[in-house]
């Protein structure tokens, strides 16, 4: 069975600093990997996805993610965080790019301090 682990429940970052959110997955085949962001009272918005090819993926809002197969990891990064980036971030894994349901991690709550 597939699973996703986000080891950090909360992360606090100063505005303007860099961000790194960790995600590890367990999956028996080549995974499709996703990062979603959820603002309070909102649904989930797709930040970026990895299907194949280049292991460094560029997403929206200045986010990027690096896939490392040897470590079963999919790390989300942003060079300079903004106040508006405060939200819940979810890593997810799927058997396909979206036609099958995703398995989500428990999320990382990002707090931005001035």
């Amino acid at each position: 069975a597939q699973s996703v682990t986000q080891p950090d429940i909360h992360i606090t970052v100063s505005e303007g600093a860099s961000l790194e959110l960790r995600c590890n997955y367990s999956y028996g085949a080549t995974p499709y990997l996703f990062w979603y962001v959820q603002s309070p009272g909102q649904g989930l918005q797709l930040l970026l996805k990895y299907f194949s090819g280049d292991t460094l993926v560029q997403g929206i809002k200045g986010f990027e993610a690096e896939f490392k197969r040897s470590q079963s990891s999919y790390t989300l990064r942003k060079p300079t965080v903004q106040w508006s980036d405060a939200a819940e971030y979810f890593c997810a894994v799927g058997a396909t790019g979206g036609a099958d349901g995703l398995t989500f991690g428990k999320g990382t709550h990002l707090i931005i301090q001035p």
């Binding site: 009272g41 989930l44 299907f51 997810a92 036609a99 349901g101 995703l102 991690g105 999320g107």
Partner: protein, 114 residues
């Protein structure tokens, strides 16, 4: 394009009562999903439809939960009778058919069972 629409946004019921949630996916999206998101956790897939047929309902508690998508467009998720542990946000998502189509989420319905 219009996003995934869900209603109601909030619902408070007493245990043992019944409740229904409605979802209207993005036009043309053949695949529809219902996820349950308990506070502090990532979303968990309850059921997946492809047009009006069920693809995966392995995690749907069928003794109390039911869902339908009769005409392959709108969908309804019902809980009868509700339990305290059903308190959660119920998210609907949709995607185009095809393995690389990303999920688009609605804003969810927050259910509180007292």
């Amino acid at each position: 394009e219009a996003g995934v629409a869900q209603s109601p946004r909030y619902k408070i019921i007493e245990k043992r009562q019944s409740v229904a949630f409605w979802c209207n996916p993005i036009s043309g999206h053949a695949t529809l999903y219902w996820y349950q998101q308990i506070l502090g956790q990532g979303p968990k897939l309850l059921i997946q439809f492809q047009n009006n047929g069920v693809v995966d309902d392995s995690q749907l508690p069928k003794d109390r939960f039911s869902a339908e998508r009769l005409k392959g467009v709108d969908s309804t998720l019902k809980i009868q009778p509700a339990k305290l542990e059903d308190s959660a946000v119920y998210l609907c998502a949709s995607s185009l058919a095809g393995s690389n189509s990303p999920l688009h989420f609605g804003n969810g319905t927050r259910l509180t069972v007292t």
